[in-house]
Symmetry: C2
Subunit: 358 residues, 2 copies
């Protein structure tokens, strides 16, 4: 078997090894049925337990009150960009906060169905930070933001107060990586493939009041109430996807929940940023106050060395370190399952590279 490398990919991303070993072990015999999870009916008793547990664990980990529904959908954040706009803007106006590539995609879909007001943007700063002043509309149906941008590596450290206007957040790349106050939001959505599972599952947390505002004329699959009423089983979901999410959520709980996970994530990011700040050889791209703890985007001062860096990193067992094709440079994505030890080993490699090339 090939040696397990340190996986810095931005998503689908590293998952806990123990979880994957469990999946492998029971792959031909889920829940004592003699069937594989991939053959298991979504209406079976065994899967019913999985679905309920995934929902309960989500509520527990994120400290979600009973005023919210938790559903698991398909189509990723990309479909949510449209579903949010189709349901809640619907020809009217909404405010969007522009922080980079992912916010831009949400904005694009918003524009297909209504009037988008860019309430704040850090485009003039090349998305090196999140905005700190906002120009909210009084008649906006909602305010949309992207809590973490994977490409430029910036993250909201605190969220704006939007008053009575519902705040909707795409948390695909930092969901369950830190404690947040869910009550600040009327809706949170996230693709599972970074912190809480593999691709093909989208978590949606939505306040009961928000659901009542949905567009009743939309097709059944595009309305949130459909999935809420049927407890994510209106149609056949990704059975293995939700099964994996549930196992990863179990791993989060077993590892101390948000408090412990956040502490480790803080430490992982701190050691790497501290090193970047201590050297002249590398430099980070995000402004300090907006630095992402999930995606650390950096460059080598001598840009020409970057290809060589990526190549040598790979040879040393650090993969996925190349920056996004739209931005270039380097990026270390260190989601929940990425171990602190791996970050430290990577820093050693970086130091070594600096020594040889500095």
């Amino acid at each position: 078997m090939s040696k397990r490398p340190y996986n810095f990919y931005a998503g689908p991303a590293i998952l806990p090894l123990d979880v994957m070993k469990k999946i492998q072990k029971e792959f031909l015999d889920f829940d004592g049925t003699g069937l594989s999870i991939v053959e298991t009916s979504h209406r079976s008793k065994g899967f019913d337990t999985v679905m309920k547990q995934a929902r309960e664990r989500t509520k527990k980990i994120m400290n979600i009150s009973d005023d919210y529904h938790v559903v698991f959908l398909q189509g990723g954040a990309s479909l949510q960009f449209s579903m949010v706009a189709m349901n809640f803007m619907n020809g009217k106006k909404a405010d969007y906060i522009h922080t980079g590539e992912w916010a831009k995609k949400a904005i694009k879909e918003g524009k297909t169905v209504g009037d988008v007001n860019i309430a704040a943007s850090s485009e003039d700063k090349k998305f090196s930070c999140v905005p700190d002043t906002y120009n909210f509309s009084s008649d906006a149906q909602y305010v949309h933001l992207t809590s973490n941008e994977t490409i430029n590596g910036i993250q909201f450290q605190a969220f704006p107060d939007t008053g009575n206007v519902p705040l909707v957040a795409d948390m695909s790349s930092d969901i369950m990586s830190r404690k947040i106050n869910v009550n600040q939001f009327k809706m949170i959505y996230a693709g599972a493939q970074k912190n809480i599972g593999t691709s093909g599952v989208t978590l949606v947390v939505i306040h009961k009041d928000m659901v009542t505002r949905e567009n009743a004329k939309l097709p059944t699959m595009l309305k949130y109430s459909t999935h809420i009423e049927k407890e994510s089983l209106y149609n056949t979901p990704s059975v293995i996807g939700i099964y994996i999410v549930n196992l990863v959520l179990g791993w989060i709980v077993d590892n101390g929940g948000m408090e412990a996970i956040e502490k480790t994530n803080n430490e992982k990011a701190a050691v790497l940023y501290d090193y970047l700040d201590s050297t002249e050889f590398y430099y980070g791209l995000a402004e300090k106050q907006s630095r992402s703890k999930m995606n650390i985007v950096f460059r080598i001062k001598n840009n020409d060395l970057e290809d060589q860096f990526v190549e040598q990193a790979k040879a040393n067992g650090f993969i996925g370190i190349k920056g996004h094709r739209s931005l270039g440079g380097l990026r270390a994505s260190i989601y929940n399952a990425f171990p602190l030890e791996g970050v430290k080993d990577f820093i050693s490699f970086m130091k070594d590279f600096e020594k040889k090339n500095g």
Copy 2:
């Protein structure tokens, strides 16, 4: 490990054991990377090969010409019900053939966006057969049919000639179970979870001419051109789902392709229907000319014995034999991966049950 039962579930359904053993074996090390497939980036070289292979195998198995695009989406047939109507009816008219529960769902979504004409229906026959006369509209944007209905167990043996009006088919429950002439259709879609994989993947085969008629004003994710242009990678797909589809398609090819698979499916259905026809104890619900080769729906003349039958079947290793909750009775779903031997064993059990209770 629990003994492997015969899995008669209507979907998610039985998959080839060899395929699942391969998934298990390489679960922690996909393509020699040292990573699991569930951690693998959809932009990686390894997954790129999987995606291309899945597309090519689909074209080969179904004998699809280059006039068609093959894409893999999320959201199941349920989302296709809406996407078809939103893209191609768009306020105008379409013809639908009503054959049961699944056709009804497609019709419901059609009605949310346009004028639906029921061109044929077997509702008056309690959906025990497919219609044989059609009342097509001259101004229909397309004709929609459901090739196989899982609940009442009926299947089109031949497809209607719709002239210049595009024929669109939901083949979720009999895709790649028999040879069909793809050129009769302008679009075919199917959830993967019965014959070609697990849930979370939708196969769409669409003619180039059809794509040009899509509704350009729709959100990006709801337009077929988006997924065609990006070769099913506009957004993160279900990586493990497509990986499994590709392996199942490989199994179909290795087992002789459509010709051999169809032959076995014919034989499986024939032995079971022949037995039903030979006894007074059980009876099939579908009319002979419309009998499904995928879902054999039957009853015991003395309906009261059915609960006992289901229970004893389960004790003997035959699971998922209970009919759909909306119809009651009994159902044996025998998709591609269900072995002939299993059908024969089941008939022995049925005979035995008849002897004890007849």
